[in-house]
Subunit: 684 residues, 2 copies
């Protein structure tokens, strides 16, 4: 079986251009290939317009400007934390939807932030010079310091917000320079019953009927921001077969990982993640049944974990595809053979592949400790995160910038502050559930006889300790957090807040584990990937695209369906097909506004559609754009085959799923009466 | 790494005798090896005594007779279903323990049954003659029919209860003839806080302090049964290093599986099982927090699922041990090479290994359907099981014996009847949780668009449907079940009980899936294993032992500790070491009786101990026996390394964990005042 499939797969991935494969950076967009396949000329102007109209939601999504006064189009699920933060038992925006009647009714999204890319600058040579000739561990340390320095210098010099980006798994280092908006407000969101119609069962499926949209607005100085570069709607959307582009921030792909790292994902990382989160899902679902308020407050957490479970399950399936694995191995062996045949390349690469395997083996020895103690898997919930951020910001902020942990460097501090101090609701029961669960997992994985576990739990059960910590801490109060944020180290150390005391008690060990991870895993692995990337560049140049890094990328393809086990899936759905799917019970239930409007909607209006563009998580909220730079859809999902896009792109099956402009506009007009919004977006 | 480990592993498993490896049948016990290693002569008389004193609990455990009047020693966790069935909110035997003051106070265990092996008879030649020259599918069918006929003939001829057993993965067929006891009563059980001290965190760990014992009694004609063959106590237990034997019913090992089947376990069966049951654990734990009654009623289910999770997680770890996998592959390749070099063997084996791989590939195509619909994973809970048994017994019982599904053949019917009609408590909330959960998983795995899912759920959510079915059915009433058991097919078909209607509605499809499984998976796989086993016999004879089959086996070894990461683990614990481990909160809390007795117990009394004997799940409740056939302990667990015993035996690490006679006797005397029981067992 393996051998039979191999040539086909090699063929499929060795022609990325024909396969619509790739999430391309703007400086390396394959215009020639697009021209050849689709007959479309992508101009620099087109690329520039896209760059300035498309934004990143720093919480992990994409978005685009759709008016000159700061209106932003993204998914409902991308605005979910904002929607939840503005909801209460009396006013449930998630269930009931929201439309600001006037600009002054737009409500604040306290933890959201938008970044628009202004410029990029390659700094590979600087980073490589700084770390040349050093041993892995020292090189790792120096690389981190150098990058922090470059970022700070960039901010000082440009007045923009800078971030470092490593492309091609360490083959290139870049500075990305952003304009940043941190006053974001909610303008419109539909009811979750229609935004996420079909819920978890339909997630990653197509055909589909989700109005997964929301509209935000960016503000500057308490006024709607001026956003002269924005996307204009093409209200009828794409014709079948027409070329389609997606611009956004795909989060992470792992197509350049070594076989050893893929194996680590398959056998360790993903199974562990799944076992933890599937149990947490069980606890959430059961908790949701205890009261209406429990159901409401756990909803966002449950939705997040269910989405993750579906993704990780399908990734695991992909990695268990023996043909894929055999292909990856063959590809790696081919690269190794080319390297081995060239003494210069061989000298440069050295033992890189073995180094990565060794790094994984060392990691296995302390992975559980690192994961539970430093990554914080033992103390899941907002309250412990607050405590840790507070003690660390105070400990770090007086150090030289380059010595600090990354979230506390000058460039990163504003976001850390926003996430730590934003006033948002804390639900003690839910926090207790999460903390109790994670303490229980800590005991399960580190063992009841671990010194750390004994010290943390002492004679208490996980649930007793969790309840005590959550009821004892005052960190749910944003004013208390603000006070501690500004406190000095002596005040922090003298705090009697039990969550602060917990974070303090374990911080030294946590930091030691981070250091061990950086020295024994990250440093040798980063160095090895850098060597492999350099060999790849020497052989292939940059005809390939880098793995996704939550930075601006453009994908291209066409509005086309696919064959699912012999049956052609038409690439769009219509309004009239929605109603037979309604059962009346969650998650196949319509909100009242839609039931009322059933007869006034045009049954032929297109609802959701698919295209062959290469996307991944983080692309949620990306605009679909046509050859003229017009907005022709709103990406919100992939089909089930798109999940394996983490590791490879299968052009025959992998599809982007988007909301069609027709249903967005029609529902804004007919159901929500959002005429002002439509007008502002230049629609009739 | 792989290559470095390989020779060591090969060495370890190619010398089973020196490694104390093996769960041996009585007809093939390696007396010479035991004599050589331990200088002990195991006589036929010793084996015979063991055979007649050791029993199988048909629910999945082992046990032994310890008095002439039917007293039976087994684990607390083996009697847990009996204990739970006799508990209520007012009288919680699990929490409070139980001691029958007089024989007439002993309480019935409605779903338990004990079987004592009387004789065995090999029938390999008969089975093989019947299936010779047939294609796989017909051979599979004929094998099932032949075995059913042989079992029935055996019962008719012997007056005993007969079961068929396939040893060496189909290399041998046997009839096992039993004396059966189906009136079992509970005499004594300690409080669960001491029986399962340390709970799930300590499960499969050592050092350990569990009084995991219970005492039952078998009755005949409402009188204590005469059991003249029973084990006498050696109250001081074994000396360190002394040889030790375990006699019991190890459930299942998979040491003879092909690499293809191990891979299927690793990549499919175990991950799927884990993901399902870990989520269920989350729901149970959260449900337990809703009330004391919820906590009490879910306890046994939670304990069962947690034990399973620990086992399956460690099995998965074992299968992810690349060195083990490489070894298994090398071993299989070696066998293949020997076969290939011998034309006669090669002709006999044919394409057996490929056949198994193909069977697995076909299975993958309908595994989810089979698992959810026929195995019943979509309808988890007692009530659906009742419904299915009732409709099937009525449908099957008028067919000729050989045409029936196995649970409805004459030989199996009494047990099916006992399990279906026994009067035991049903907890509607728990049943609703289980059914709702499993309907939800059905929708997740078969997909919301599956015709089956649409038909079952219609427009209902899993929780709505589950609540309706559980509240609507009358099958919780054992009298209603008894009526339906005796009903005719027309009455069953006319039933308006919703659970019966559900079982009826899907039965045809469920049976078709079973048939497909038997024809496309089981038949070719059984035939292939038979061919491989025959090749193995031709090469090795029966110097190896068969995989465990929940039938009588004896293991041998010594009372010895092991080295855990460089530290020697002493092979026993004492009473005085228990108290510092007590935290006062579940699961590290003592019952009042033990807190009161803290000062009157001898601190030096031995509590739990370990030995090198080869055991597996199903051995729970087995006696540890010394060279003279005396009772020297009660097996209740393995250490964490014992779990990988499913696939191989690592003599350096794998240990049996047992309750020491000293703590059993001392607690019966000092804490529970069970003087009559002690006297009956011949102690002082």
């Amino acid at each position: 079986m393996k051998k039979m499939f191999l040539p086909l797969i090699l063929a499929a991935v060795s022609q990325p251009v024909l396969a619509d494969e790739g999430m391309w950076t703007l400086d390396n967009f394959p215009t020639a290939a697009v021209k050849e396949k689709y007959g479309v000329d992508i101009s620099d102007g087109w690329l520039e317009t896209v760059k300035s109209s498309v934004a990143r939601m720093d919480s992990g999504c994409s978005a685009s400007f759709v008016s000159a006064s700061g209106l932003v189009l993204t998914n409902h699920h991308c605005a979910l934390s904002c929607i939840a933060q503005n909801s209460s038992a009396d006013s449930d925006l998630e269930a009931d939807g929201f439309l600001a009647a006037r600009p002054e009714d737009e409500v604040s999204c306290p933890t959201d932030r938008l970044s628009v890319l202004v410029a990029t600058e390659e700094v590979t040579a600087v980073v490589n010079r700084a770390t040349a000739e050093m041993a892995d561990k020292e090189a790792g340390e120096m690389r981190r310091r150098t990058v922090k320095r470059l970022v700070q210098d960039c901010e000082d010099a440009s007045g923009l917000k800078c971030e470092s980006v490593s492309l091609y798994q360490g083959g290139q280092y870049w500075l990305y320079k952003y304009r940043r908006y941190d006053d974001i407000r909610l303008v419109f969101s539909p009811e979750s019953d229609i935004a996420a119609f079909g819920g978890d069962p339909d997630n990653f499926n197509f055909p589909r009927w989700c109005l997964d949209m929301s509209i935000l607005r960016v503000y500057e100085n308490d006024k709607p921001a001026a956003t002269p570069n924005y996307l204009r709607w093409r209200t009828e959307g794409l014709k079948p077969g027409e070329p389609m582009f997606v611009a956004g921030r795909p989060g992470r792909t792992q197509r350049l990982l070594t076989v050893s790292d893929l194996k680590f994902l398959r056998d360790t990382t993903i199974p562990h993640w799944l076992l933890r989160n599937v149990e947490l899902r069980g606890r959430y679902i059961q908790y949701a049944q205890t009261s209406d308020e429990a159901r409401r407050t756990v909803q966002a957490s449950l939705q997040g974990v269910e989405n993750g479970i579906k993704v990780q399950r399908k990734r695991l399936d992909a990695l268990h595809n023996d043909a894929l694995f055999a292909h990856k191995l063959a590809e790696e062996n081919q690269l190794k053979a080319v390297v081995a045949s060239n003494p210069k390349l061989a000298a440069g690469v050295g033992s890189a592949w073995d180094d990565i395997e060794r790094a994984n083996a060392s990691y296995l020895e302390f992975r559980d400790d690192y994961y539970f103690i430093e990554v914080g898997a033992a103390f899941y919930g907002k309250l412990f995160n607050y405590a840790r951020s507070l003690i660390r910001v105070v400990a770090e902020r007086d150090k030289p910038n380059e010595d600090r942990l990354k979230p506390y460097t000058e460039a990163a501090l504003p976001r850390t502050k926003q996430l730590t101090l934003a006033d948002r609701p804390i639900y003690p029961e839910l926090e207790t559930l999460q903390l109790s669960f994670s303490l229980d997992k800590m005991r399960e994985f580190l063992g009841p006889d671990s010194n750390f576990v004994r010290e943390i739990l002492n004679t208490k059960s996980p649930s007793t300790l969790a309840a005590e910590l959550v009821s004892g801490t005052r960190l749910a109060d944003s004013e208390v957090r603000a006070e501690l944020w500004n406190a000095d180290w002596a005040t922090i150390q003298a705090s009697d807040d039990p969550m602060i005391r917990l974070a303090l008690a374990l911080d030294e060990r946590a930091r030691a584990l981070r250091r061990r991870f950086e020295d024994e895993v990250e440093a040798p692995s980063d160095r090895a990937y850098e060597k492999i990337a350099n060999a790849r560049f020497a052989i292939q140049g940059t005809t390939a695209y880098p793995d996704a890094t939550f930075t601006l990328r453009i994908s291209y393809g066409a509005h086309e369906g696919w064959n699912e086990k012999g049956t052609y899936v038409r690439p769009w759905t219509t309004v009239s097909e929605l109603f037979p799917r309604v059962t009346g019970t969650d998650p196949f239930r319509l909100p009242a506004s839609w039931r009322d409007a059933a007869n006034s909607l045009d049954g032929n209006s297109k609802f959701n559609f698919v295209g062959t563009t290469d996307i991944i998580g983080g692309n949620s909220g990306s605009p679909a754009i046509d050859r003229d730079g017009k907005l022709v859809g709103l990406i919100f999902d992939g089909n089930i085959h798109a999940i394996s896009g983490s590791y490879w792109f299968d052009s025959a099956l992998n599809r982007t799923v988007a909301v069609h402009p027709e249903i967005m506009i029609e529902s804004l007009r007919e159901i929500y009466g959002a005429d002002a919004v439509l007008e502002e977006m230049g629609i009739e």
